[in-house]
């Protein structure tokens, strides 16, 4: 019996050791430890952590440079940078939030930002950085809002322009690319008949609706607002296009990648950010050589949707002021301009976008450069069409699912719209 007791004691000791080893997160932050910071800096050194999404190793020099500048200008503040792959960012945010180790400054996409804002995980930026609001484009700043409060500074942006295949257009008898969505679908029909290739493609409808005059949600964010005669018209038009075999199933269901189809000349144009054009160049340099860039296809509102990468500060950060200072620093005109010069993304601050650098490229032979020119020109007409509500990804899904049912299952468009409306209203409660 004695032996058994001894073994049980050993076991208990082992468990305690493991538990103790796991619970290190409550210990003091690195910087707070010693009061002997020495002469120079008046305060104890503060360390803030900064997460980016999939920027390392390509942009190591740039990010490290910005951090170094910041640390020089703010003695006593250290920035610890960590890059997280895009597929892992949500998981990383979740697990870190659960264990209380969320970064002080985070790079987040707009959907996820809204989710975190609704849960109170990110800090109020009107309070922390309201002074820089005027530097940003209005339509872009508002993307970081949730129920009237800003929770992020916009960082880099990308809006869509058009990469099109000159050969396919010529074979179908067109000299110029389409300018509007409507025209694009008309041309698609001719292109399909004459060349067998598809023209426009579509996966989801949740961005098409707002850029064609159908807001998804009412102005007070309380109800669905998309069940309108105009939306019905749109659904019916797509149903017709689907029946005319202008919309391939694999694109509609997101099983095929547009860049691959474009590189295989299965589609005549691809609406995307100019920074992604190089994917086509990698897949098929020949097809890239036949390509040219054009401005975005416009919906009836004439506004272009812009995708935004945001910089947010954690609500539970112990150094909110320093974190906000760094957020402002990395998004300031000077640093954004430097970033845009090494990669084809767009800046969110007006001063950076007005730089002569962006006036170049208008007559470039390289579609990516030309595309960037068009993308910057579009900034003043850009808006983020993602409504500032918590359940936005579920809401988008509800609308898209009903849209897919109309096409794939021959569901009545009017019924689909009212079913989607009911579902969205439920999600908004």
């Amino acid at each position: 019996m004695k032996h058994v007791k001894k073994w049980v004691m050993v076991l208990v000791a082992m468990v305690m050791a493991i538990v103790a080893g796991c619970s290190g997160s409550g210990s003091k932050p690195a910087g707070d430890a010693s009061p002997s910071a020495g002469g120079g800096a008046s305060k104890n050194p503060v360390e803030i952590t900064f997460w980016t999404i999939s920027l390392s190793p390509t942009f190591d020099d740039y990010i490290n440079g910005v951090i170094k500048d910041f640390e020089t200008k703010n003695p006593g503040v250290k920035v610890k940078w960590q890059d997280v792959p895009i597929d892992a960012i949500e998981q990383k945010t979740l697990t870190s939030a659960a264990s209380g180790t969320l970064a002080d400054v985070m790079n987040l996409n707009t959907d996820y930002l809204k989710k975190l804002a609704a849960l109170g995980a990110v800090a109020n930026m009107d309070k922390l950085a309201g002074d820089v609001k005027k530097d940003f484009y209005e339509g872009i700043w508002s993307a970081g809002e949730f129920q009237g409060v800003s929770y992020a500074l916009p960082w880099y942006l990308s809006n869509s322009v058009l990469l099109y295949n000159k050969d396919i257009l010529k074979k179908a008898g067109f000299d110029n690319p389409p300018k509007t969505e409507e025209e694009a679908w008309q041309m698609s029909k001719v292109i399909k008949e004459k060349t067998g290739a598809y023209g426009s493609t579509l996966k989801d409808i949740h961005l098409y609706l707002p850029s064609n005059g159908v807001p998804l949600i009412s102005d007070d964010f309380k109800k669905a607002a998309f069940n309108t005669p105009r939306a019905l018209e749109i659904f019916k038009a797509f149903k017709q296009r689907y029946d005319d075999k202008l919309l391939p199933d694999e694109m509609l269901l997101g099983q095929a990648k547009a860049q691959e189809w474009y590189a295989q000349e299965k589609i005549a144009w691809w609406s995307t950010g100019p920074q992604l054009f190089r994917q086509v160049k990698d897949l098929s340099p020949q097809v890239y050589d036949k390509s040219d860039a054009a401005p975005a296809l416009l919906g009836s509102t004439g506004k272009v949707h812009v995708a935004i990468m945001n910089i947010a500060v954690a609500e539970k950060s112990k150094h909110q002021k320093e974190a906000a200072d760094f957020a402002k620093f990395i998004t300031n005109a000077e640093n954004q301009l430097k970033f845009s010069k090494i990669v084809a993304v767009l800046p969110s601050v007006k001063k950076a976008a007005e730089d002569p650098f962006f006036a170049e490229g208008k007559d470039s032979k390289d579609p990516a450069e030309k595309g960037r020119y068009f993308a910057v020109q579009q900034l003043k007409d850009s808006v983020n069409n993602i409504p500032p509500v918590e359940n936005i990804s579920k809401i988008n899904k509800a609308i898209n699912d009903e849209f897919h049912r109309v096409l794939l299952e021959k569901k009545d468009p009017a019924k689909a719209l009212s079913d989607a409306e009911a579902e969205v209203n439920k999600l908004l409660k």
């Binding site: 032996h3 082992m14 849960l119 694999e250 990804s393 794939l408």
Partner: protein, 282 residues
């Protein structure tokens, strides 16, 4: 006394591991299933609310249906077909080891790689539809039709699982005493008679094992659904585990997702007990 102490000492490391990484999280999930835990907001105890909501949720019932459908497509095939494969590669033929290797090979390929490969095969302009077009058959919407998607995914699973389960049967076959077959031959039994009267009864414990293991893995399957079709088209391949993943890690409804997991656990437990009872009775 001496022996039991040693036994405990050897069990302790594995037991501890199991406690910390399996049993602990399972108990935690059970507790979470009665709360509103979503990582960020304060956690509240909500009693059976999550369970009630799950049972009212049409998405849950569709996922349950999809899971059973997938199970019915996959498990019988994985219980029966590998027996034949095992009998084949159990013959004393030249080069039979090579065949064993070839049949086992798919089990070595990672599920994600498998998903990519089959994704190309199932493509609307892929290899399979190309062969069908040669013999004049209309292209099949392998992954884009909600009626065909599950059978397509089942084909992939069976392809990958055949060799794996074959190994268990092969081990079982090799423990069947040779003299039973010899005695049967003397009595005039042919190929089929021998297998029906000797092989299958002797393999019964292995069949039970394969049935249970393949049932559990069918109910847990989710990688293929995620990587090949993201649970679509229109939710036609959203299984219960996929739903758990979506609710927990996309929607952050951890409590709700935990409740779904425990309902699934109850179903698997019931099926396993049923399976065991029916085999015991025989």
């Amino acid at each position: 006394m001496y022996k039991s102490v040693h036994a405990w000492a050897f069990l302790a490391p594995a037991g501890l591991f199991l406690l910390v990484f399996s049993l602990g999280p399972a108990v935690a999930a059970l507790i979470l299933s009665f709360t509103s835990y979503n990582i960020f907001e304060p956690t509240e105890f909500v009693g059976f609310n999550n369970y009630m909501e799950v049972l009212k949720d049409s998405d849950f019932w569709r996922a349950m249906f999809n899971t059973f459908y997938y199970w019915i497509l996959v498990t019988p095939a994985l219980v029966v077909l590998p027996v034949f494969l095992a009998v084949l590669v159990n013959q004393a033929l030249i080069g039979v080891k090579l065949f064993r290797l070839v049949f086992y090979f798919p089990a070595l390929v990672s599920v994600v790689v498998t998903a990519f490969l089959w994704g190309w095969m199932f493509n609307s302009e892929g290899v399979l539809n190309y062969f069908l077009s040669i013999i004049g058959v209309e292209p099949v919407k392998w992954l884009t039709s909600k009626y065909v998607v599950m059978p397509s995914l089942a084909i992939v699973t069976v392809w990958q699982g055949l060799g794996y389960y074959m190994l268990f049967y092969l081990a079982g076959l090799q423990s069947v005493p040779e003299d039973l077959y010899e005695a049967a031959e003397l009595d005039g039994a042919g190929f089929w008679r021998k297998h029906i009267s000797i092989t299958f009864p002797m393999l019964r414990p292995v069949i039970f094992f394969v049935a249970v293991v393949s049932t559990m893995s069918a109910f847990k399957e989710f990688t293929l659904m995620l990587t090949m079709v993201e649970g679509g088209p229109l939710g036609a391949s959203t299984t219960v585990v996929y739903l758990v993943f979506d609710e927990a890690f996309k929607q952050l409804n951890m409590g709700y997702a935990s409740a779904v997991s425990f309902l699934l656990f109850a179903v698997i437990l019931a099926l396993t007990l049923l399976n065991k009872r029916s085999l015991d009775r025989e």
